[in-house]
Symmetry: C2
């Protein structure tokens, strides 16, 4: 275990490096912070810290930079939970007033503010509620061979799509059919609306082949939409602000990865269980981002995972700030979702 002084010195080195992105030397450290120690002493301590694996030297005559192990130690036992500045808090509080028209927009805005406040790339994974329960359906008239199918789920979500109907089918026939299908499907989660059930509809209700196909397609489409996960990115251009990404090739590499929605989804899903998860450098098993760190929070509503948000940046990241921001955002969203009956 590190003694107090080593710990203090390590902390200063980490924080200095986080804010300057320059390797930290003993002389500079002594001058900048009032430690009551000479550079030589600090050198000895730094040498020890290097032996212990907390520091690294880019080359002999440079200062030292924190290792992944150091960051790990830092986030585990040196960060005390800070609180947001009034400014930041106000920014978040005001952020959503104009941006909550629908759930997607909320997620997108979250990604945006998360990246803005942390100066890093943010990712938000929205787990669409796959357990939405079918409530009823209804046909509305459109023209002689098409109708609008409306499907309402118990969470108040309304979906619609245009279905082809047999020419000249009357509204009361449609109503009758909607009523019967509704009674069959009512209370069933969209996810289990399987082929069997649908076949049942076929024989029981919608003998007309065309009509049945049309209906089937619509139900599938809506079910898929509910199951679908969506990924929102924010602040990809913030990357360019980070000194470690002055190198265009590196930026391209990372952006290339982020562009693959599938990869980002996997990435976020991998750390979905725990509340707040911090992955530093090579702790992350995804190739291509092993020189980055990621701070990730999963949010739940009534026990179900609603989504995941994460900040991705260089290992030299303001962990304290990021954690604070995510914590506040997390709580904020939670209350917003809980009180929010105006889901759209």
């Amino acid at each position: 275990m590190l003694d107090e002084r080593k710990k203090k010195i390590l902390q200063l080195i980490i924080e200095d490096y986080i804010s300057t992105a320059e390797p930290v030397g003993s002389r500079n450290l002594a001058r900048k912070y009032d430690l009551g120690l000479s550079p030589a002493t600090i050198r000895n301590e730094m040498s020890d810290l290097e032996m212990l694996g907390y520091l690294e030297q880019p080359h002999t005559s440079a200062g030292r930079i924190p290792s992944a192990q150091a960051y790990r130690f830092y986030v585990d036992s040196m960060i005390e939970p800070g609180s947001l500045t009034d400014n930041d808090r106000a920014l978040i509080n005001g952020w959503y007033t104009e941006r909550r028209r629908n759930i997607d927009e909320i997620f997108q805005s979250t990604a945006k503010i998360l990246s803005r406040m942390t100066q890093n790339v943010s990712m938000v994974l929205a787990n669409k509620d796959s357990e939405a329960v079918f409530r009823y359906m209804k046909f509305l008239p459109l023209n002689e061979d098409h109708a609008i199918l409306i499907i309402v789920t118990d969470d108040g979500n309304v979906d619609n799509c245009v279905v082809e109907i047999p020419l000249g089918m009357r509204q009361d026939e449609l109503d009758y059919m909607a009523g019967r299908v509704s009674r069959i499907l009512e209370g069933k989660p969209l996810s289990v609306i399987s082929e069997n059930i649908l076949e049942g509809i076929h024989t029981d209700v919608a003998e007309d082949e065309l009509m049945f196909r049309s209906l089937l397609r619509s139900l599938r489409k809506i079910s898929r939409k509910h199951r679908e996960q969506r990924v929102f990115l924010g602040g990809t251009k913030q990357l360019l602000n980070q000194p470690e990404f002055r190198d265009v090739d590196r930026v391209q590499n990372l952006l290339g990865i982020l562009e693959e929605e599938r990869v980002v989804r996997d990435l976020l899903q991998a750390g979905e269980d725990s509340g707040l998860k911090i992955t530093i450098g090579t702790e992350n098993k995804f190739t291509g981002i092993q020189d980055c760190s990621m701070v990730q929070a999963t949010y739940r509503l009534n026990g179900k995972i609603v989504g995941t948000m994460a900040v991705l940046g260089p290992t030299r990241m303001e962990y304290g700030k990021v954690i604070t921001v995510m914590d506040y955002l997390h709580k904020y969203l939670k209350t917003m979702f809980e009180q929010g009956s105006d889901k759209e």
Copy 2:
């Protein structure tokens, strides 16, 4: 007017520069293309072309690069309409099969493929159809103090939102109200559903204050949604592939501009009238992109402007290819929209 030989030389210089991004020298030009002229002769011609304002020299001992004037001349009188490779054509044809679930997705996909095929940033402005005409509305049950308001417009678009209703209002009362309001608003464009008309509803139909407010809010919201323009960007990361954007600061500058949706909207709207518009360098009056060129096409449906798509890149742009791609895409979308009754 330029004689044939000058024209030929200018064209070769432009095309060489477009493909290599390196200033073109007389010696190199003579070697690379079989002109039957010595470097010295070419030098003389180049000197003339510089006098005439078509060429520029970055510095004395570099080759020459085309001026904005040269590009203008090039696009105006040297490009012959090419045709897409089979590969590219196949790519476009297959592109939308999985990506036409709704209108927004189509626009987004268009931005994506446009940037992919041109290796540049693409922008798509979707002019939501502000002339959508109200057709009817309907209330569907949700719970004891909320209902789902469905509004159908004549283009087959369906919108819904949750409205608060007086506690215990019966469905038949709601139906009655919906019927009456529908009769009042039917045939009116959403854009002209003004306060006056709405006031009329207030006194005539919905005496209940709460109900009226709720209804009003919903109508406004939907009307706003219809009026709304949306901007889709594609391939912002392609920027980094262009040699002129190896400079991180320049990239940041441009990305900053593109991030401002309002600016992009203005930019696209500025060139909305003409069918195909090419703006080269400082021809563009928007600050910040005056070292870029833009190729823009406006597409209409039944005479109305549906949207605008554009490609933005360095003045050294493959104008020919860009034009060809946009042309094909344009036609493709047109047929898709025209046949497309499955708008969502």
